[in-house]
Symmetry: C2
Subunit: 425 residues, 2 copies
Amino acid sequence: MVDYIDLDYIPDDNDLIVMYYVEKSEDCKDFQNACTEIAKESSIGTWTDIVTMSAEIANRLKPSIFYIDEPNGITKIAYNKDLFELNNISQILSAIAGNIYGMKALDNLRLLDITFPKDFIDMYKGPKFGTEGIRQLTKVRKRPLLGTIVKPKVGLNEIEHANVCGEAWLGGLDIVKDDENLTSMVFNKFKKRIEETFKVRNKIEEKTGEKKIYMPNITAPIELMKKRANFVIDYGGEYIMVDIITVGYSALQELRTYLDNKNIVIHAHRAMHAALTRNKKHGMTMLSIAKLMRLIGMDQLHTGTIVGKMEGDKQEVLEINEMLTKNSIEDNNLTMLSQEWDHIKPTLPVASGGLSPLHIPKLIDLLGIDMVYQFGGGCHGHPNGTLAGASAIRQAVNAIIDGFTLEERAKTNSELKAALKKWKK
Amino acid sequence: MVDYIDLDYIPDDNDLIVMYYVEKSEDCKDFQNACTEIAKESSIGTWTDIVTMSAEIANRLKPSIFYIDEPNGITKIAYNKDLFELNNISQILSAIAGNIYGMKALDNLRLLDITFPKDFIDMYKGPKFGTEGIRQLTKVRKRPLLGTIVKPKVGLNEIEHANVCGEAWLGGLDIVKDDENLTSMVFNKFKKRIEETFKVRNKIEEKTGEKKIYMPNITAPIELMKKRANFVIDYGGEYIMVDIITVGYSALQELRTYLDNKNIVIHAHRAMHAALTRNKKHGMTMLSIAKLMRLIGMDQLHTGTIVGKMEGDKQEVLEINEMLTKNSIEDNNLTMLSQEWDHIKPTLPVASGGLSPLHIPKLIDLLGIDMVYQFGGGCHGHPNGTLAGASAIRQAVNAIIDGFTLEERAKTNSELKAALKKWKK
């Protein structure tokens, strides 16, 4: 029998490390045994001893369970890098996040975090732009980037869509994005939307002297995504947006490779992530998904608002943002493993979902200014419409950056005043 | 305010229908309200009223909650087909299985099933082969297809791998497949493995006069998957295998399109599905994933063993297999919606995971003979090795098809006798 538990084992640069939360089932005799089943099924083992397994293979490739914290249900497993195709995220997940979720030996299993050693990091390009590249492109330096999502999510035609974008930009927002379920609809075709929206964009840029960004949602089968990305580039776009979870890793890796020699920022929307991440005992953490996205090379990623309509508590969102933006992360033995990012640039975190201008003081206090803040209903829900809603958002951010309260600035900013009146509880 | 609840609404051919299991949170006043939040966030609504929403858009596009079964936590929602890009699975999921999982208004949400109306069905090709095409290709007619997975999952080099395949085929199995985490490793490169394995395959076909199948795992970023599929075709392969969940929908749709004019069967491995499907209150069902896979066009799909090492109860597995293989499905108001498959061929179900020859009587009794049964450890774990293990499996199946018990046939089949001895509890 191969013994997978080795608490004296010290991982080195050859090991990919995974931290799991584990709940054994009645079928499994103890916690150690549950950890062993995970290590086996995710690497070289199976449910019975087999004649095709040699001692040489077992010694060379067996993972080491080197950390067990049974009271907290946590284990860490070191996997030899030879168990992986280094630049193939789908293969990596099929091993460390594959069959193991379905084993009868477990009731619950949650992948908490992964440490990628240098040989893996070297295989990936990470974000092309990073925070600094985005700051240069947008010329926004001393405040967060401000955006809206065109609402209703779907329903407007191409011209209406472009006009809503125009009002949002004119009101003072930097970014307008499509919603996650808007791609190419019978009443709003992708190409015509791009044409109309960039026409308006160019006018507003001229009028305001500010850089204005449109993030079209190119989510689709991969060849169509490439065509859509090229179409956006042809019309002078600098950003595309993609629904990372419903698109999947195989296409995302290809998209990043394909766009490498094109000057375009990738904005990652995480619709569906909570099907995997929300249950605290099962699935995988948003932190681990976010780590894969930085590695693959998403420039911007939705990571939670703390204060909005979507779940995600303060500690979790802060840790994800830290992981996305720092160069070096320390292991805390509970929620985060260590990570050295080397040449990989940061991913800019995006807070979006149920936000209004009233949330801005808290957002900046909690999450800072190296962020994208997006307001959908909190812009188009303004009593005087999108233009006023966008103005109120920019006024609220200016207030906080300048050291004033929203109420102080509302005295002279009528749009902000009306927003406070509508959404104040 | 738009009212999304309309219990008198009768869905028609213009509606895509989704059945959800819903648990409201403390934030949400009642079950009806929770259903409304789902209908809004998955279509045209947001958390506040907005000036850009018109009555015309709401009337044209708002989904109808037409069925509420609060005691069972079930609702059905009819979505106008114009809310979707019909042939874009990623977009469809970003709507009906996207942000809604993360809403604070819910504690749990599970997508149970989807009914695709004819306009959607018409946009998809479904499986190229189907059960009948696979029967023709393999020339196996009156018994289940029998396979093994090379074990250990990873660790053998290319020659060792090919030799294990050779023993399995020679022993009487039809199919050998790579495991879900074996792609191209430092010690077992994809191309060399293909070359060596097909060399052996051709010899064994000649020797036995039987059709022998190798299913190489091409899981990777999509362009590499295409290259690997072409390489397999060049060496005379008729099958490829892909890890559907870790690869994702955007690449899967492209792969099916790309392979349409090539004569190759797609075998779908579902590693990681249980991260989404296992919790009975959250995520989505394997039934709904399987439905997407038949629609996209996976010819074979792992759906559960009932008796093996992986979870998946009897009713669930039987319903998935029924959905994959029948042309017309009836709504049961709890676990399955109706579905007319029209031109879409069946997907052949695969049972794999923790199976040994001892399970064969039960498997055939429960799941029938229009199946692929795969035995990994249950083949290579035979005391006399892979060749004997494969023989024992074929002997066990022949016994049941011929109307004998395993014990009766074990009297004259020494390989089966040794297998019974090892695994009998």
